[in-house]
């Protein structure tokens, strides 16, 4: 053995830790990464180039925490968490909620950085912060914001977004709050209601007949400030289900107490779909009954009522279905 070899051996003894085996959790996480396939690839595009596959790696390792990384500063964890742990959560969302697809809204390279920061989207970060704060209203608001911005979230970050959303839903289910439900029920004020849009219509599956397990069940009494043409009486509304997907839509099933429909449909139950895609008033019916239809995110509850009334064939909402509702 030469002097160099002896010195290398000594160096190895001093510098090398004892042999280690990977923790089981990390092994199973890797297996999930492998098993989930190529279509949600967070890394760079293959040699042939696939648009919108993202920057190399899973985005620049963020200094801000992502799932499992809250309060940490390493940043290298982000990709692993996004790619591994949250895959299961994404699968749950896809399978249980039967959302069409997380990638149906298309991918474009410029979206990869549109709303991202440090390997994760700002909306996700805000939601994570809200979850840490355990502020129910903040969580509801941040989750709604995440859903609004879902389409601009880069594909590599969508797993993380889905995981955050699932956490939020779970949190809201565990912490029922009228205020939070109001946040969920209230459409975003800035969303246009009349402008035409070239965005494709998103097909949302029919309402689930039973509990989804992802539903905040609070009962709320919204009091919209806007003057409307319907009777100004606050209805008792129970949100039965909020089924969200990251293709930019979510669906709210709610029950209006005491409502007796004057047209065919499930008595007392309305399945309302808010679409963040088109920003338009509903142009077509969708769903199993007239009580299930797409509406714009910009519509207020009372405007929804008006559509219900209109759908029921009553031209004057004040004397029609919404009148019955309120």
């Amino acid at each position: 053995m030469t002097d160099d070899e002896r010195l290398l051996a000594l160096l190895k003894d001093v510098l090398s830790p004892p042999p280690a085996q990977p923790p089981p959790g990390r092994v199973s996480a890797l297996r999930r990464v492998v098993e989930r396939g190529d279509d949600r690839r967070p890394g760079p595009p293959p040699v042939s180039g696939r648009p919108g596959s993202g920057r190399p790696g899973s985005g620049r390792p963020g200094s801000a925490g992502t799932g499992g990384n809250r309060g940490r500063s390493s940043g290298v964890r982000a990709g692993w968490v996004a790619a591994g742990v949250s895959v299961a959560a994404a699968a749950v969302v896809i399978a249980v909620l039967a959302v069409p697809t997380l990638v149906s809204s298309g991918r474009s390279a410029n979206r990869d950085t549109a709303s991202s920061h440090g390997g994760t989207s700002q909306a996700v970060q805000l939601l994570r912060v809200a979850l840490v704060s355990k502020d129910v209203v903040a969580v509801a608001r941040a989750d709604a914001n995440l859903l609004r911005e879902a389409k601009s979230i880069a594909p590599p970050q969508r797993d993380d977004a889905v995981a955050a959303h699932v956490e939020a839903i779970q949190f809201l289910r565990d912490h029922p709050s009228a205020d939070a439900a109001a946040e969920l029920a209230a459409p975003p004020p800035a969303a246009p209601t009349s402008e035409a849009s070239a965005a494709p219509t998103t097909v949302v599956p029919a309402p689930h007949p039973g509990p989804t397990g992802h539903t905040p069940p609070p009962t709320v009494t919204p009091s919209p400030p806007e003057p409307t043409t319907v009777a100004d009486v606050a209805p008792d509304v129970t949100i039965d289900a909020v089924v969200a997907s990251l293709d930019g839509t979510f669906q709210v099933d709610f029950t209006v107490a005491g409502f007796t429909p004057d047209a065919s449909g499930a008595p007392g139950t309305h399945s309302v779909r808010f679409s963040f895609d088109d920003g338009q008033a509903p142009t077509s019916w969708d769903g199993p009954s007239p009580w299930s239809f797409p509406v714009s995110a910009g519509l207020t509850y009372r405007q929804v009522c008006a559509h219900v009334a209109d759908a029921s064939g009553v031209e004057d909402p004040s004397t029609g279905g919404c009148h019955d509702i309120v």
């Binding site: 890797l30 297996r31 390792p61 500063s73």
Partner: protein
């Protein structure tokens, strides 16, 4: 599994890599277990804490999983390819986290639990002190060689040098280390 990629046959490794390309989870798990100790040891030398090092290794395999199609089998090189990814992961982590600088830099260095048993070993202490006097390039090269377990050719692939240049650099680094050891010993 106590072996490393360098300790399995080329045929076995190539078979694993081929299966990994076909997204065989078992192959990936085997590769992960084979490479884990070396990658983790290297990451622990370069990052602040064990958790960060473990994260870096995990991130390395995540990237490897998605980039396996880019890997070209040239009679080997898979281990070096992994170390190349890990090196980038660590550099990115260090850029975003100032604490992620080399941890073996002498005063104020983090306590490394794997060395706890050696803290009273004068020779080990001397080696560590001498090692800390080396340049970052020398340290990295020696870490890849002795901690990562890479051969000169593999180190060359990681750092972008020819194997001959790596051997020369290693020889010079060891000479400097030996000199530093003598100085440290004389000071004691």
């Amino acid at each position: 599994m106590g072996s490393t990629p360098a300790e399995v046959s080329t045929a076995e490794l190539q078979d694993l890599v081929d299966r990994a390309r076909r997204r065989d989870p078992d192959a990936w798990e085997t590769l992960y277990r084979l490479s884990y100790a070396g990658l983790l040891a290297y990451a622990r030398r370069r990052l602040w804490g064990l958790t960060e090092a473990d994260d870096a290794v995990s991130e390395t395999f995540t990237r490897a999983c998605y980039r396996i199609a880019d890997f070209e089998w040239k009679g080997g090189g898979f281990n070096a390819w992994l170390f190349g990814i890990l090196r980038n992961v660590i550099l990115e982590a260090q850029r975003t986290d100032r604490r992620g600088s080399l941890v073996d830099g002498g005063a104020g260095q983090v306590e490394d639990d794997c060395l706890d048993g050696l803290l009273h070993d004068e020779e080990a202490l001397a080696v560590r002190a001498a090692f800390a006097t080396l340049t970052p390039d020398d340290q990295e090269l020696l870490e890849l060689r002795v901690v990562g377990g890479l051969c000169a050719e593999e180190v060359g692939l990681v750092v972008g040098k020819r194997a001959g240049a790596v051997r020369m650099a290693q020889s010079r680094a060891l000479a400097r280390l030996r000199s530093a050891l003598e100085t440290v010993s004389a000071d004691d």
